[in-house]
Symmetry: D2
Subunit: 357 residues, 4 copies
């Protein structure tokens, strides 16, 4: 019962098979491997973006920070949600890679930036003159850190606000596949057609060992990206092992299939929790994470049964809730089984540990 | 006939097997996996350094830059050989990670810093006052970029000079295994016992997919290293795949065995080249790379036969050499076979392409 | 009627006289001038801090950013008020000089950090692990950007909270003299005795041309400060002209006298505004700035009379105020006269421009 | 007998008078003062560059580092002479302001970059790919650190080499006036007409208290410069005191007059030294500094007489010179008198201290 994070999951068999296949004889290094050319071609097709520049890096933090450094000068600020990964979970990587840019935290319910809040932040007059940092870039996380999703219309609206101030738009898509699986739209609709300039396209959390693609829909800053990647220590010499993971991940739309499975398990979990006496959902369950609060007794039973998940801030803000409630984040992944979820729910319902795995 | 770089080689079967074994079920992320604890323990044993802090990163550039950033403040300079990887092949990663430190280039034949040159550089009086950057750290590459090796005595002598100015010492050991295989000494003798504070311990070039260990013999700056690693985007969420590579690499002294094989192939190649009419060795062949010059006809035959290697500066400085000579770098790796080397040498000797692989 | 900023004021005659006296013959450069030794001695006496290290820089931004860079590593955050100069008016200088640290914005009424808000910010659990930036330093502005003042007890309380988390404390004292003039305490009581580690001691706004002292009560990082100052381009070769300004400023307690005069003018202005029909004070007037709102007609008259000041956010938040109110900031300085203030008030009262100067 | 540096000199009376005149009543801050508009206009006339952007900063280090940061990205290198101020005397300010660019040291006799050496450095093939830092900018110092001068033809030749690689050109003109006074050409001929993009135009060493102009002949990066200046803490609030210095300095061509006087004293000194038995000039004396070697006895006498100057590396390389020679740098400035020089020379000739001043 591992619900702590999707990054505790193993890699998918198809991805590992691709890595093993790549381990034959010698191969050109630093991204000149043949597999990388195929990955680029495939991602351009998937995104209907024949001119896009595509690069692989090993972590989501690297993908985000490198992308943002290409979009935002040191003397500017990045608008992001208060709970964005770039703010809360990267130890200042965006500040480091940009050379000291700021992050401006924007509010909005359920992990989504509210348009009015963004408008107010962009309108802050002190950004106009030489005395404060300038407006730099907008960064959207999709799926969000609250397990919700921006629709193409949401993205277009926020991007439009950014565009009015001349700002480029980055999308942190560590869970992009989960967002897409929920929405059923095309990758293009959710990105460049909605105003996104650069996408961090996640693989690690959804079936890979460690690989993320950065897709620059406008390739004008591609060479700058390459230099920043190298300078950041993220250009792999034996690049074929990144390419192979991504190739395996893209093959037969595996990425969409895996994300769909993770989302389905989250829905199952969410529905089960909603039916639990005294429990409340904190956010709508759209992608692969469930945020819910339930009585302490249930938590005790779950812990006793070996369930792994993080308590998460939130229950404090529930109106009219009994003191007994504790909120938690539960993340499903491609390898989570129906039985895992059932066992977890049964534990909560019966208050008794259920042995699994 | 792949002699372009050891990073064109595949991963060793034992390493891949360890990775596959690691791909079972869920595992704790960000370095909290059980395998990482075993790797730390094993490296402490190998280096007879029970207090050392050990971290894994995916590339040699990350290992070097992060290590140096912990040793050298932004307003100081790193003394390194003019041809060091940190100077020539990392697109300024040390400057980036340190926040703008300098590199002071020190000369010395065969890729080794000359003690007198280091002494002169350290003695440069402008380093004393507030007007210039201060003395920061010494970085030694072992094995060197010229395929040669510093002995423990060499390291101790240079470290001693650094120590007199209060400088810490970093060793870029991307090919540390090859140096050790040549010397036959213990890892401790070549590092902390000879005055090395931090070692970048390479795995990638010698049989892994992409993993390097950074070993801080003095753990005082371990937490700083962790923060810098995270901030640089080099903390893997699915860390188990780094741990597994390193565990496979360390098991049964595989790392030493593989390096010994690569070195043996380089010796074979070196001896064959020495016997080639008109050829000259540019540097002693001690580790797994051969630097030699030979007549153009041989190069043409080699290229026609599909041999891969880089022409390398050097022949210009050969005294009394005919204009016809061109120098090259040839790197062997753990998977290079005796037959590969024989075929290559035969091509040079006969001037005719020999079909291999 | 110049109320736009205290930095529109001229330098005091005593300061200019000192500069002229300094302009005799040759003098040692880079801070080795005899006057600098006297300045250090005098500031140590004034602050009862015989071991303090003292440095001069030309701007408040340089003083703050250099001080903070010595206190806060790149991977940490500086706690400051939401309206602090380091956040709003330095174009990211703290981020630049620290190498990419964050600023965490803390709320509190009337420009003063609220203890509970600081406690909550310091307690934010995400600061504990490797994934987010660490707790770095506390920066207090005294007098604040709202024209109010922290008492020694206020400073001690906030410093105490910081100290519990091991954080050092910086005070932005661009208007330190104004705070002291209001409080009547000793410089030591308002700084190191209340837990302040480093003070930016302003001269520019209060009668100098351009000089600020940075006082490190603990001299442990003095050499680091010197290197950072030089590296930032803030070490003056003809340093005597900085020393002379500061010496003139400190002589006969000129700095306290001038600040007392500026504060007195602000009180006069504040009392006059409080008596204006329909006007409201936004903040208590403690130092040399008045924040008030009054009807548009008065603003029109003031503008017509040539009064210079900035409209300032704030009236929006006044409860039950008529739409007609507009808030403004009015800053007095050492050279503001009673007649200036009277003329301004008369203009507002009569609604008719009054010719002055 | 102050020959240690031109920065030990006082400010010229005309400059101080201008500063005093500026100290009347209130004035707009942050560069919006009327005097700055006049300074910009005047420098555009002087340089025949009606579109140039002009900014003032207080130190030469700030001028150089800010200018270079606008020309050279973090992943590139600045080509400069081995003895350039940006390399030897700024504690890494260019590295700091650029965000970690390198400096590539180019040789050449008498402080001037040799064209062949620059060509070789620019041709270094490792600068082409992603693995090393890229070619960034050329920085020329005129007058040089060896007291010599680049002619317009020299500048054009070196700029042309840079231009072939697409590199912009910076000129460190801390002693630009001295170069111009020697050459007798126009400011335009020595700068933009010869391929210079940005000039650091020195005032401090030649009669000001502390002010340098940065002239961007192409104003495209003017706004970036303003943001970098503010972010570096170099935007003066009471900017009028910088403007006034520069206005006084430019008035009646004072800057050229003062430089001419300093150069004349250096010539006088140089000729006197050339006539001293056993003495040798190290470099041609073209600007206001003399580099010469003479017997120890003369140094002893000079020290005894209170003469101030720095011993300077150089005599070691004199062929056939007696061991007894010690080389030194002697810098004249606008306030050096004929009598000062005579007294110094007499001391050397007679071996006896001569009382002066």
């Amino acid at each position: 019962m591992w619900f702590a994070s999707d990054n505790t999951s193993p890699a998918a068999p198809e991805v590992m098979a691709a890595v093993l296949r790549a381990n034959q004889g010698h191969a050109a290094s630093y991204g000149a491997d043949a597999a990388m050319a195929r990955v680029t071609e495939r991602l351009r097709e998937v995104f209907e973006a024949p001119d896009a520049a595509v690069y692989l890096v090993p972590t989501g933090t690297a993908a985000n920070a490198l992308a943002l450094a290409c979009l935002c000068p040191p003397w500017a600020t990045i608008y992001c949600h208060r709970t964005a990964h770039v703010e809360e979970d990267e130890c200042g990587a965006p500040e480091f890679y940009t050379g000291g840019a700021k992050l401006t935290l924007v509010d909005g319910s359920h992990g989504r930036i509210a348009a009015e809040a963004l408008e107010a932040a962009l309108g802050f007059t002190a950004r106009a003159g030489v005395h404060n940092v300038q407006r730099g870039a907008l960064s959207l996380t999709n799926a969000t850190e609250a397990g919700t999703v921006y629709t193409p219309a949401d993205v277009a609206r926020l991007s439009g606000l950014a565009r009015r101030h001349g700002l480029p738009v980055h999308m942190d898509g560590a869970r992009f596949a989960n967002a897409l699986a929920f929405l059923g739209c095309t990758p293009a609709e959710l990105t460049w057609r909605a105003g996104v300039d650069v996408l961090s396209f996640g693989g690690t959390k959804n079936g890979c060992m460690g690989v993320e693609a950065v897709i620059l829909f406008d390739p004008a800053r591609a060479w700058e990206f390459e230099l920043r990647r190298k300078r950041g220590g993220h250009l792999f010499s034996k690049h074929r092992y990144l390419s192979a993971q991504m190739e395996g991940y893209l093959g037969d739309d595996l990425w969409r299939t895996l994300a769909g499975e993770a989302n389905a398990r989250a829905r199952q979990l969410s529905q089960g929790l909603a039916a639990l006496p005294g429990a409340r959902l904190m956010h709508p369950t759209e992608a692969n994470a469930v945020f819910a609060a339930w009585p302490r007794a249930g938590h005790r039973a779950a812990r006793a049964a070996g369930a792994q998940y993080f308590l998460w801030p939130g229950h404090q803000s529930l109106e009219g809730a009994p003191d007994d409630l504790l909120s938690a984040r539960l993340v499903c992944n491609w390898s989570t089984t129906e039985a895992d979820v059932d066992a977890f729910l049964q534990t909560l319902h019966t208050g008794a540990p259920v042995a699994v795995r």
